[in-house]
């Protein structure tokens, strides 16, 4: 709750518009993310949260509005571009590959190969990728018991931890987490939340999407509320504001009973 004004925003979204056929998914959404901040994005189902983060992570393309990194407009046409400018996303379904080992999952889509001129037909430096994965897992204090097991053989919490660690390891600027604990048990949830809390220490800002209000007031600095595709308000994510945030989400001017 300290990141009130810490310099210029890392990431800004201005006047975001997105339409799917006749359905307006985003209508003039604005978002500012400051350095070292954990920003919760809240809203009921269909409020536009997923569309918004998919537009930032390069899965969707905005029909209108701009995304700025460090004040410079960026055109995030694809997930590769998002990754290249330092934005990593942990999707609800994790985008993990059960048939691959942790190191392959870490580097998937950006495998280290040589020689360079062969492009995607280049040979992968398996040893290099495995070593780096071990280092990352060590540094982030993720407990993975056996880094040679297939991801498919790991528990839900471990998989989640791997997905988060992958995002954290490669994100230089922003990590987006979409419902990171939706499928987890209590202890696993706590581990993931601890990991999220440590992200600002790594110099990374976080956008956290969740339905769990306790989680919001526990880890987030600020909360932005979307309703029907529009940003309807934001406030510090404190326990005192919890009720007010809920009414913002529900769209009631006075707290519903």
């Amino acid at each position: 709750m300290s990141a009130e004004q810490r310099g210029a925003p890392v990431l800004s979204v201005r006047g975001a518009m997105k339409r799917f056929g006749g359905v307006v998914a985003l209508d003039d959404v604005n978002l500012d993310l400051y350095p070292g901040e954990i920003l919760a994005v809240l809203g009921d189902n269909g409020a536009g949260k997923s569309t918004l983060i998919k537009s930032i992570s390069g899965v969707h393309r905005l029909d209108g509005g701009v995304v700025e990194m460090d004040g410079q407009p960026v055109d995030i046409r694809s997930p590769q571009i998002a990754r290249a400018i330092g934005i990593e996303t942990v999707y609800q379904d994790l985008a993990l590959f059960d048939n691959l080992r942790p190191s392959a999952n870490f580097f998937v889509g950006r495998e280290v190969t040589r020689p360079r001129w062969l492009g995607p037909l280049g040979l992968m430096s398996e040893r290099h990728m495995r070593k780096e994965t071990d280092e990352i897992i060590e540094r982030l204090q993720v407990t993975v018991r056996d880094t040679s097991t297939l991801i498919g053989l790991m528990s839900g919490g471990q998989r989640q931890a791997i997905a988060c660690a992958r995002a954290v390891a490669f994100a230089s600027r922003v990590v987006i987490l979409d419902e990171p604990t939706a499928a987890l048990g209590l202890r696993e949830t706590r581990n993931v939340m601890n990991l999220v809390r440590r992200l600002p220490e790594q110099g990374v800002s976080v956008i956290l999407i969740t339905h769990n209000m306790d989680q919001v007031v526990e880890v987030a600095d600020r909360a932005l509320v979307l309703r029907r595709g529009t940003s309807v308000g934001e406030m510090p994510a404190t326990r005192e504001n919890q009720a007010a945030l809920v009414s913002l989400i529900m769209g009631a001017d006075t707290p519903a009973h």
């Binding site: 997930p79 691959l100 950006r110 018991r145 528990s155």
Partner: protein, 371 residues
């Protein structure tokens, strides 16, 4: 599959206990005890791990058992001449299987390879006869026809947004066979250049050339699938297609590429078949797609995508070859041979399903061990 060294590593994380119930190491006095709190679960995990290993080795065991039984029943099986026959018979299936593997890894299927083989064979034959083409041109023709039809499969499937490749390649099975018969008027083109005859029926020492071609192709395919980035992306698409899109893998291009590779392999198989029969035959490769798919599955690749290696294909092709060749030698009624092949195929799919369930159970056990 190489696995990272199991050499003693920096202090293992204690939280979850050991995953493998390895016997206490003989060297060193400090026998590390399995953490007590999860001790009762470790033996169970060990059993599941053991079962998984057995299931994983299943296809090789099946091949060995069938091979041993047949050679006991019919000593002729192990004569040099028969082994050469066996290799030659299995080579076409193996080549087709290597291409089919890449498709099945993406949880797709290519039903058209038999027809592509026929089209490539007859095209090569016609080019040879009409232009008195040399071996090089004839070979290139066959490969290009295979590659071209394969690319067509992939493009129609991906760009047409067709939900499953089954229908696309089923249509191509009909289209390519029809084209093969139409352009040749249904007649076999007699004659093949020396290079192709050599590829199909030559020997280097005692080793049949088709077998050498299989080994070289398999080595190339191994490097491609296991060591290159594109190969890894094929596994990724098969493991989680949506995830692959999210991490920026060019999924559409990967999908097109596997059908292209499968078509190319049908073109290569056409070279072997045309060489063996010294002709370009529009009906060559009839139902070969079924052999190719069977070989991949019998060898232990997963029909559900994402899992399978070149080794699986070679084992599967050999298993099919051994069953046919052995039962022929034993003069078993061919009707019963069909039943035997079907049974082995069912066994292979069942093993795949059992593996899936064992892994699910192991995952559950580990989750409990952590909690």
């Amino acid at each position: 599959m190489s696995r990272s060294s199991d050499a003693p590593q920096s202090p293992p994380a204690v939280s979850g206990g050991e995953t493998r119930s390895a016997p206490p190491s003989p060297r060193g006095f400090g026998k590390r005890k399995v953490p007590a709190f999860s001790g009762d679960r470790v033996p169970a995990q060990g059993t599941v791990n053991l079962l998984l290993a057995v299931v994983g080795a299943g296809p090789v065991i099946v091949l060995l058992v069938i091979g041993i039984v047949i050679s006991l029943a019919q000593p002729l099986f192990y004569t040099g001449g028969n082994l050469q026959n066996l290799l030659i018979q299995s080579s076409v299936i193996a080549i087709l299987g290597l291409g089919q593997l890449t498709v099945i890894l993406t949880s797709g299927i290519d039903l058209s390879v038999g027809s592509i083989l026929g089209l490539a064979s007859v095209s090569g034959g016609m080019v040879y006869l009409s232009y008195s083409a040399g071996g090089g041109l004839t070979i290139v023709t066959m490969l290009l026809v295979g590659l071209g039809v394969g690319v067509l499969n992939g493009v129609i499937y991906v760009k047409g947004r067709i939900p499953h490749p089954f229908i696309v390649t089923l249509a191509m099975l009909s289209l390519a066979r029809g084209a093969a018969l139409a352009i040749s008027g249904g007649t076999v083109q007699i004659g093949m250049p020396d290079a192709i005859l050599f590829a199909g029926q030559g020997f280097i020492g005692p080793v049949p050339v088709p077998a050498i071609i299989v080994v070289l192709s398999a080595a190339l395919m191994y490097i491609f699938l296991a060591r290159t980035k594109w190969g890894r992306w094929i596994y990724a698409v098969g493991g989680n297609e949506q995830g692959a899109r999210q991490v920026g893998i060019p999924v559409d291009k990967v999908l097109i590429s596997v059908y292209a590779i499968s078509g190319l392999s049908a073109g290569a198989a056409a070279i072997l078949v045309s060489g063996r029969t010294a002709s370009g035959d529009p009906s060559a490769g009839y139902q070969a797609e079924l052999d190719a798919i069977s070989a991949v599955i019998i060898g232990g690749a997963s029909f559900f995508g994402g899992r399978g290696t070149v080794l699986n294909v070679l084992v599967g092709a050999l298993t099919l070859g051994v069953i046919r060749n052995g039962l022929d030698l034993l003069s078993v009624n061919p009707f019963l041979q069909l039943i035997a092949l079907g049974a082995v195929l069912l066994l292979a799919v069942q093993l795949d399903v059992i593996r899936e369930r064992l892994e699910g159970r192991l995952r559950l056990m580990r989750a409990e061990a952590v909690a």
